[in-house]
Symmetry: C2
Subunit: 174 residues, 2 copies
């Protein structure tokens, strides 16, 4: 059966997105630079640059391989309204059921935002939690880990990949 996984960038102080991150207000509190620092590990990879037609070049190596593997395993994405409103495709209700039908033998990524990830963590529905932890401080914004029910979700460390712009932490549900 398809695995349900999360793969996101996280600031060292626990934020998925800096305060006031909206396309309508690109200059607010320097959010663009903060988000760029968070995502440097991804933006610099050859695979990502090719996919988004950013032109040739980009880093190869283990982080690039990780980005390719992660992208290619996705059979369906689930995301919330806020992320949709920022320009992505949304899923309606019964998202996980529909995503399982759609994903086939591939996997289902809970793409975000934070509130959607929190809901799926509280449901115990997330099999794998992949975090690219970047050495950057946002000071405010959307926290990833809030509103978790007790007892909290149970994960064990599965793998760690040490990149220069982020530490890639992979946890698997126990």
């Amino acid at each position: 059966m398809s695995k349900v996984f999360v793969n996101i960038g996280l600031s060292l102080d626990g934020y998925m997105a800096p305060e006031g991150m909206t396309m309508k207000n690109p200059g607010y509190k320097n959010w663009g630079a903060k988000w760029g620092a968070l995502m440097t590990w991804l933006l610099n990879t050859q695979y990502f640059r090719e996919n988004l037609k950013f032109g040739p070049g980009g880093e190869t190596g283990p982080v690039n391989d990780l980005v390719r593997t992660t992208t290619e395993r996705i059979g369906a994405n689930i995301m919330g309204k806020r992320m949709f409103d920022q320009g992505e495709v949304a899923w309606p209700e019964r998202a996980l059921v529909l995503a399982r039908e759609s994903a086939g033998s591939r996997d289902i990524r809970i793409a975000g935002g934070a509130d959607v990830i929190q809901q799926y963590l509280n449901l115990g529905a997330i099999d794998e939690l992949e975090i690219a932890l970047a050495p950057v401080f946002f000071g405010g914004g959307r926290r990833l880990f809030e509103n978790l029910r007790e007892p909290g979700p149970q994960f064990r460390i599965d793998k760690v990949l040490d990149g220069s712009a982020a530490t890639h932490l992979r946890y698997v549900r126990q």
Copy 2:
């Protein structure tokens, strides 16, 4: 000159201590078990067990070596009132100046709690930030990273040690 460093355990959801962690109320919200899960990486090491007279045994290897190196580099500890009230020795005002005098050629550890670490981060006084990130969720408690001023502190990834009970992240000030 002495380096100023932080070396702490952190839950995956960003807490240094679970909610209601006081010696007066050991059964509150299962905080003892949570704290034990946070500190498994430390409590299991041979060096720590020897130091606290827990008896023979314990893990050797890279995490044990890390605990020894970290402990032996400390020339002075700075900690806050809450941590002192829990049974440790406190430092008065002008703590960093006095600690530098006292530490000699060794280093100064900002031991905590969270509010003290936040104050020193905001002062730009922390040279090295060492975090043992444990795969445990507290759901509430004392957050490590709050109340940080803008622009936030600037660190780069220095080293990552992949343990089974925690990921040992080492950041150095830029």
